[in-house]
Symmetry: C2
Subunit: 343 residues, 2 copies
DNA sequence: CTGTTAGCGCTTTCAG
DNA sequence: CTGAAAGCGCTAACAG
């Protein structure tokens, strides 16, 4: 790639080929009304002269920023990394840049991030809500400006913007039923302190599975945790201090499930013999714990692609609410040692 | 925040206050030559009218993009997530946006990403090199255009651009010496297949520690791995098939170290009694393995901040090669169960 | 199929 | 301390 002294503009190319800047502009945008021959000539010249589009100028003229904002709770999971790779692929192909910011699960940071994205005039927004976010008022400015938003993974049902997610109820149902089939008769659910979107749904699936299998459900069987990788002793204490000792745990994510396994083992309890444990997400840590963790797997890359595609549809006025308002991606139960009692 | 029907420009504000656009522009940029009073009046009006800067226009005029490109091997580690948070804080404060792309450790993707960043006219670049990258020719265009680059974590010594890193030799030396003090007499080093930057340095520290403690060093004691979380059996096989069984393993990262522990345990070998194991990075997984992993910890957030600050210095012509060319951040040995033989 | 022209919203000399 | 005016590089009517 040649790097000229001075930045080359379409005027330079026009002058070199004795054409008008308009023609050059059109050719570079691959406009239909330019002869293939001229197009080729122009594109080759651009290449040879080391031309690169001035997006600032183009964007100013087109009144767009070409930037898509992405707000996520945290980047530090292989799931999120895959999601972003999927988004990047689809959006870069469509000529967009991505700016990413982390809310670190706090509403305050999410609001600040949203503000920053608004001031940066993003053309669209992809959001996975912070654990703390129970409403989406901080995105109202976008709606008023007609800037499309697509939520992914962490979606609030009552928002009019589309969401891309998995069926958390169904997956939680499946994993709970698996525990029951393994012989568990007293299962507890360890989840977030406040039941935000996905956690609410996972609890719902848990509850349904119990009821459908003629097992009692009560909120005493739902324990709160911060769902991080730390505090294994605390969570084990919580489980052990229940009036009747459970023989199964369904944790709302893998980090918490692994913590449970570690804490229980420290107390001399055998997993899965005394207590079977299942998680959610199929994080790499699920294969490190001993025994390995039964969990729910879903494809981050596909979710990234799907969300980006819905956003593009909205940007290109090809959005169809009947199919795009709610995109449900598949999730599968992954059975591993932590729930296999009869091995 | 009020959201007006139509986008407000500095002309609107100027008209409303009976001033010139130039004055408004200066006031909003906090220019010294505007009276405090007028400044305040303008800033309040801007706020009230729901004005937001048009960065496309501003950037076009100033011939900058206000974008900093960040290229990383992968996002999916808590370390990288911290690094990016640190960068974001410093750069957003300075008015920059960040676009991030992942090379997935391949040279090809890194080159594509660099191209894309160049075409997007980033004002600066922050790069952590892909495992596969053994030169930095693909960044030449930036240098020719005088676009500053700062490398972080994965740095190549022979590049003229500055780098922010830890002292890998020293840290590897410390961890190896710790293994020796624990009584290990036959230590192997499991590292990447090709010895790129940090891995070369960690090997160097390993070697020095052995030699300084009158222990023999040979390349038979250096095993290659892909350093991921998968393949515990393979790596254990490699270790077990050595002519003399080692009593210590220093793995070049935590994922690999955890893999070693798992593989060895599967083969009935006790860690740390038969073989002590140490890693590098202090990844969250270091606390999941049993026993917990001895490792080297360093602060991602600080590294992100430091790299961003060096970049800002270059952008503002405050770069001082004597202090900024090579920034070495602290790293500390974290001793945990996996290397404590006399417990 | 190609050219002319105006203008996107801002910054920055230069002039008062 | 404030204003007038030019122009950053591109696109999209409109006109041929």
């Amino acid at each position: 790639m040649s790097v000229p002294e001075k930045e080359i503009t379409i005027y330079d190319i026009a002058r070199a080929l004795d054409l008008s800047p308009a023609t050059v502009s059109r050719a570079l945008a691959n406009h239909a009304a330019i002869s293939i021959k001229t197009k080729k000539r122009i594109q080759e010249a651009a290449q040879a002269m080391g031309y690169r589009t001035n997006r600032m100028a183009s964007n100013l003229r087109k009144k767009r920023s070409n930037i898509i904002g992405v707000i996520v709770p945290r980047l530090n999971s292989s799931f999120m990394s895959d999601v972003l790779a999927g988004m990047e692929k689809v959006l870069n192909q469509a000529g967009y840049n991505i700016i990413i910011s982390q809310s670190f699960e706090t509403a305050a940071k999410e609001i600040t991030n949203a503000q920053a994205m608004y001031n940066n005039r993003v053309d669209g927004l992809l959001v996975s809500l912070a654990y703390e976010s129970h409403h989406t008022n901080h995105f109202d400015a976008f709606t008023q400006r007609n800037i499309p938003i697509v939520y992914f993974d962490r979606v609030l049902k009552d928002d009019h913007n589309p969401g891309v997610m998995i069926d958390n109820v169904k997956a939680a149902y499946a994993i709970t039923e698996h525990l029951i089939k393994q012989g568990c008769r007293q299962i507890v659910h360890v989840t977030a302190q406040h039941l935000h979107s996905v956690y609410k749904q996972r609890l719902e699936g848990f509850k349904q599975a119990l009821l459908d299998n003629s097992m009692p459900f009560s909120y005493d069987m739902v324990l709160g945790s911060d769902l991080t990788l730390s505090g294994s002793t605390e969570i084990a204490d919580l489980v052990m201090n229940l009036p009747t000792q459970p023989d199964g745990i369904f944790a709302a994510n893998d980090a918490c499930a692994v913590n449970c396994i570690m804490g229980l083992k420290e107390k001399g309890i055998s997993v899965p013999h005394d207590i079977a444990v299942a998680g959610f997400n199929n994080d790499p840590v699920a294969c490190i714990s001993e025994p390995k963790l039964t969990t729910v797997n879903y494809d981050g890359y596909a979710m990234g692609e799907a969300s980006a595609r819905v956003l593009l549809k909205r940007l290109n006025n090809q959005y169809d609410a009947t199919t795009d308002k709610e995109v449900i991606l598949p999730a599968e139960l992954i059975i591993r040692g932590s729930t296999l009692r009869n091995k």
